[in-house]
Symmetry: C2
Subunit: 186 residues, 2 copies
């Protein structure tokens, strides 16, 4: 029976390899090499590279669970929570795996479903936060919370994408500052 | 001597194939099959798939030349020009090739240089338009034109990316409406 830790290690390595080199550019061999496990072990746990890809997306998404919870429930003012959430994405020059997989895999039905679910729940987290800000008067209310939430998530993915071409975080810092300015009630 | 039209046909096919399936997922064979030319002909014109990829990026970018010129010089009010430019991106569920290549190829030096150039000139077009809007009082001036221009381009790439997961254009329509609302001077 395979050790349970092998599966976790393969997911971890899949995440690292897909994130750095892209999904299509990475083979199963590169993932098992990174994980230091034999290729046979891979097929004990996963039917295919697609199967791993979906597990990797799930694992990546779970990493942000605390960050997303902090959008919903917090003592911080809503705009500060949004700023903190956006700032958490300002450190990574490999882009966001969600955006990268959207670019490469949007037309594959299973990935499409999984990615749609990811975006929908992320948008719902922002929506809850924005609703609070609209109630306390800190966030503009000439647009619905849902529309603004969707705007933030999609725009953030674009900014994180462009970050891949940058040598520093200046674009993301400017992006964050501008987004907050746009959201603030006048 | 190879017919000059073969090269153009290969670039055209490269654009179609890379755009639909992604760069890494598409081989030279798929491109020459699409172009209906023998593989040998490919290597008369291109040293490598990378070489073709850079030509494809250039050709894709040239397609938008008129659209970008209309941001700079036009009788239309600046906000209407921005709206028209964003609307031109609302029809394509394969995403934007610039964004797709950024996702896949940002770390390849030649692509990185080419993509940085593309973004910089696109941002400059928006900047010229925003400066005009700030002068005539239609666009807010609490942020520099350059920072807002960069915000628009990066956010648009994110919205076009998310469009790949959508069955209709509603996200892009909402995106455009929200962006215009955010830019408008109060």
């Amino acid at each position: 029976m395979p050790r349970p830790s092998n599966k976790a290690q393969i997911v971890e390595s899949g995440l690292a390899v897909f994130h750095e080199f892209g999904y299509h550019a990475s083979g199963v061999q590169a993932v098992v090499d990174h994980a230091g496990v034999p290729k046979g072990s891979f097929y004990n746990h996963f039917k295919s590279k697609e199967d791993l890809g979906l597990e990797v997306l799930k694992a990546y998404w779970m990493r942000f669970e605390d960050l997303r919870a902090a959008l919903r429930i917090s003592d911080q003012p809503p705009l500060d929570r949004i700023d903190a959430h956006l700032a958490a994405f300002s450190v990574d020059e490999t882009g966001c795996l969600i955006g990268n997989l959207t670019s490469e895999m949007a037309n594959e039905p299973q990935f499409r479903d999984a990615l749609q679910g990811v975006y929908a729940s992320w948008i719902a987290d922002f929506e809850a936060c924005i609703l609070e800000g609209q109630k306390d008067g800190s966030i503009r209310d000439d647009e619905t919370a849902k529309t603004m939430a969707e705007f933030i998530v999609t725009a953030l993915e674009g900014a994180v994408l462009k970050r891949k071409l940058e040598d520093d975080e200046q674009t993301l810092i400017n992006f964050r500052k501008t987004m907050l300015r746009f959201l603030r009630a006048s």
